[in-house]
């Protein structure tokens, strides 16, 4: 474990961390800073302060600057995500959809019946014509 110091910047205001937090690695310290920024976004908004002006400057025990995490990175992490919320698609009631399907089925059945009737009539006419041809010959 190592101690990391999370100096806080908010616009012109700068606050040095004299307490420090323990993390296993710089990567864990980054995740810790990110998680805190997520927490603090909500509180800053409630206090009507602008999170976009805030950042953590993270230092090691020797006072060396390791990285800066601007709070805007919390927003950046949300951009371009496929599961971003989409506008709702209006959908019809399932009962209405069933009735529509039934009506379509009836229309198709009527069409088939009509076609079969036409075919039967054509067949009858063909037989009549064949009968007449047979009588003439």
């Amino acid at each position: 474990m190592a101690t990391f110091f999370f100096n806080f910047r908010q616009g012109k205001f700068y606050q040095v961390d004299d307490l420090g937090c323990e993390f296993e690695s710089v990567e864990d310290a980054y995740l810790g800073a990110f998680s805190a920024a997520q927490d603090m976004w909500r509180e800053l908004l409630i206090k009507r302060q602008n999170p976009l002006l805030c950042a953590f400057d993270v230092m090691d025990e020797e006072g060396r600057h390791l990285f800066t995490l601007p709070f805007v990175e919390v927003l950046d992490a949300c951009r371009g995500r496929e599961d971003a919320p989409r506008p709702p698609v209006p959908h019809r009631h399932v009962l209405q959809q069933t009735l529509d399907h039934q009506a379509n089925a009836v229309r198709v059945m009527l069409g088939v019946s009509s076609t079969v009737a036409d075919a039967k009539a054509t067949l009858r006419e063909a037989w009549n014509l064949l009968d007449q041809v047979a009588k003439l010959t």
């Binding site: 606050q15 961390d17 323990e22 810790g32 927490d39 509180e43 206090k47």
Partner: protein
């Protein structure tokens, strides 16, 4: 024992036990046990058949999510019963984890005696009933804290609760009390990230509301901290 520990005299402070009660307590306090930090004193779902009284150290009652996140529902400190319910068929709702080395005594015999012959142990029965009520009141305070308060309010409210609990068992001195918890554990108690706890502690220190040094927290001005905690009623107390 150090000033962070209780003994039988400390537990009986201001109490006047009957002869039967004094004998029972002496039998239980004859065998002090120790558990190292990280040990589970109870597993969620298991019967609460081995209640204990803590003499020193801190125990956290935790529930876990599948991904490893945890939330402490309550903390038990010196003078508190842990793994305890008055009802004999109760089961644990959370894991009881030692957050520091813990000294304790088993009090199953007391619980059995109180349930079997309440008339013989009126003082102990009253103490156990009060302990159950306090645990319930603390749970309500905790829900209010993590559900509605901002970070600095949560920490102020939590510090006041701990101060009063230590004060009640005689372990608070000069408006200060021991604070062995890491920022990570404090985060899991208060539902905040570790770095946010760090920032909030510094804010309360800068404002002169909390002093942290040598593993202790001191509250220089209790009324000022109460104002920050946004509480009209004292945290952890029963109204």
């Amino acid at each position: 024992m150090s000033r962070d520990s209780l003994d039988l005299e400390g537990v009986l402070r201001d109490a006047k036990p009957s002869l039967h009660e004094a004998e029972l307590l002496e039998r239980c306090f004859a065998h002090t046990l120790t558990a190292e930090a990280g040990r589970e004193l109870q597993v969620a779902g298991s019967p609460l058949s081995r209640p204990k009284m803590i003499l020193s150290g801190w125990v956290g009652l935790a529930r876990f999510l599948d991904d490893g996140r945890r939330q402490f529902m309550d903390l038990h400190i010196a003078g508190d019963f842990t793994a305890f319910r008055l009802r004999s068929d109760a089961h644990a709702q959370a894991y009881a984890i030692c957050l520091t080395p813990v000294q304790y005594v088993e009090v199953a015999e007391i619980l059995h005696g109180v349930n079997a012959q309440p008339g013989l142990y009126p003082g102990l029965l009253a103490k156990m009933r009060a302990s159950e009520e306090e645990q319930r009141a603390r749970l309500f305070d905790h829900i209010l804290r993590v559900g509605r308060m901002l970070a600095h309010e949560r920490l102020a409210h939590f510090a006041l609760e701990l101060y009063r609990r230590h004060e009640r068992v005689g372990l608070a001195t000069a408006q200060s009390f021991p604070m062995p918890l890491t920022q990570e554990v404090l985060g899991d108690v208060l539902g905040l990230s570790t770095v946010h706890i760090n920032r909030t502690l510094q804010q309360l220190r800068r404002e002169g509301l909390l002093k942290t040094a040598n593993g202790r927290w001191q509250i220089p001005n209790i009324e000022a901290l109460r104002a920050v905690a946004a509480e009209t009623r004292e945290p952890g107390s029963i109204s």
